[in-house]
Symmetry: C2
Subunit: 412 residues, 2 copies
Amino acid sequence: MHSTNLCGLQQNGNLLFRRLYSGALLFAAFSQALANPFFYSSSSSHTSRISMAEQDPVKFGILGCAEIARKVSRAIRLSPNSTLYAVGSRSVEKAAKFAKDNGFPDSAKVFGGYDAVLDDPDVDAVYIPLPTSMHVKWAVLAAQKKKHVLLEKPVALNVKELDVILEACESHGVQFMDGTMWMHHPRTAKMKEFLNDPQRFGQLKTVQTVFTFAADPEFLENDVRVKPELDALGVLGDAGWYNVRACLWAFDYELPKKVTALPGPVFNKSGVLVSCGASLYWEDGKVATFHCSFLSTLTTDVTAVGTKGYLRLHDFVIPDEEDKASFFTRENPGFAELQRGVVADRNEHVVATDLPQEVKMVMEFSRLVGIIKAEGGKPEKIWPTFSRKTQLVLDAVKTSIEKGFESVELIS
Amino acid sequence: MHSTNLCGLQQNGNLLFRRLYSGALLFAAFSQALANPFFYSSSSSHTSRISMAEQDPVKFGILGCAEIARKVSRAIRLSPNSTLYAVGSRSVEKAAKFAKDNGFPDSAKVFGGYDAVLDDPDVDAVYIPLPTSMHVKWAVLAAQKKKHVLLEKPVALNVKELDVILEACESHGVQFMDGTMWMHHPRTAKMKEFLNDPQRFGQLKTVQTVFTFAADPEFLENDVRVKPELDALGVLGDAGWYNVRACLWAFDYELPKKVTALPGPVFNKSGVLVSCGASLYWEDGKVATFHCSFLSTLTTDVTAVGTKGYLRLHDFVIPDEEDKASFFTRENPGFAELQRGVVADRNEHVVATDLPQEVKMVMEFSRLVGIIKAEGGKPEKIWPTFSRKTQLVLDAVKTSIEKGFESVELIS
């Protein structure tokens, strides 16, 4: 078996990340918090001494008018601890139109450039939906200007770039979080409760996840997400990001030991991935596979199989409906006599949410920013750690493809 | 990329199988038949000139008293064109007890050995549930004695052995069929209708399938299915057989070009596989992955993703209920405005069946036997072809594991 050690990436690690890596207890605490249905309420151990109501809303500046920025603008508007404060675009007219179309208050500032947003002393935080190749420049500049950074995924073209961003955030004391919305849906915490249940689920053995959507021919050649100079990770960064995060989430963020790309990746004319998959392997025999593609119909499935129970859902990235979301479990199933059927405790779990998952994301980010602003606290390290582990696995998939599907070894 | 061509296996192919392979039209006709909900009725083009009611019931002899033989005995009993005629075991007492416990008629013959079943001139067909290592001996002997062969899966330890069996069946003019029951459920035909629908499903791009069940420690060391001298393929032959068949079925029995085992196979103390997975790759970019295990809870999932639609089911091997079975589809799904949800035509398709799938299997086998008996026809080649293709892929997975997860190339 041919293995490639991602030591190049590891050598770029610095003290900061060695510290992040060693935060096993932090993960445990966070898992506990995620498993706590009151994670976002005042009973959480993560809650600051000031309540959300008392907190000054975090003033957001948005860099660029990407389509996804429309959704996040709405989320900032709906979030009780955030406010739409400024938007910058390459042209001030475009910024003004975006502000008008997306419910910014009349007092919001519109700028013909991104620098001006960062130079505004009243901007607390920026949301960066720019193409991935521009992340390192603008996220670092934002951190240097003491702006907290909510960064769209994929966060960087590779972990080396991400490390530059995270180091800037760390050294300037600003919060970093990526835009993986499903992490913040209350369903996610409820699912983790089930996966953590030794009676109903047992030990997790395997995860299978698929995220595909059918892009049209125009998208496949010209969309930002398949342009080598803008989003060189293609479908791996756009859809595979979610698959990898789902695997890491299910396995409590333990990095796999080996990552092996699967045969059959498809590239567009510019050489950017539009379909691919990978197998992840943990030393104690746990395995996961994922498939992501712009060439198949919309599918967002996760299946997690334990020694005693089973969990699946079919809309993990974006719930079918905004105010509630389901997942399905089966506990201790077995064949009936003569295998004439299956006996199992089957459940559909419906989890309601008062606000959409992207609003929950903005609220959590702003809550952390609020603590730093009000109490001079340190940024929460969980979120950059999740981003970095996701990026490490993406990089390994890319490396494995480049090396003809060799296994790539990760050292955690 | 390292590839291993399974030329050793290919070289064992003979004229018979070259003929089987070239039967593309046969497959097309069969696909059409499978897609026809009346496949088992008298309107099918496969129906002989005599009806099932007019046909003398096929007299079955059973070789051995394995647990699965209880289920198939019931199926033979319930099948209108079959009858339980004889059973042989290593001891006549065991055979007699089996016959008594499993609803054999009082007239049924019980033998203290397998040879005696084959020597009985009134036995038309045998069902062979013996350990896999014994298949080649007893299936060949049965064919030589002009008994039609319903052979439990996995059909052989490797395709070389299977070729010996199939050649014996071909040269003695007896029908061969393996015991893959789900193929015969009317749900299977209905699902194929959906997969073949260019408007609702489009082109099939990927299949993901999992078959796992949690075996106890005793099973993992001592069951027939994990004994190197009895069932050396372990979980790959017992559960992976179904996963591979599901992939082949979905892709209209086109063999994949490459088969690559996934990292993380688990072996028991005797070196027999108890958990593994593989990735299948077709030259035009179609891909599939499967995972099979004795170490996780009971799961039997298939997900098939096309360019326009999506199909999934969670009980493909044995339906949750005996008299009906469901599958789930989604057609032309898309994100709602601002990706605030998913818009799709979602359906649960419930397919009723008048008889359990294993009875349908016995009926189809006996129907084919009846045609040969009554009209001197030739055996139907579809069924041995399906078995052989399944075995070829299993062999390739095993080879890939042995070669450290190298890709194994199949030439169809």
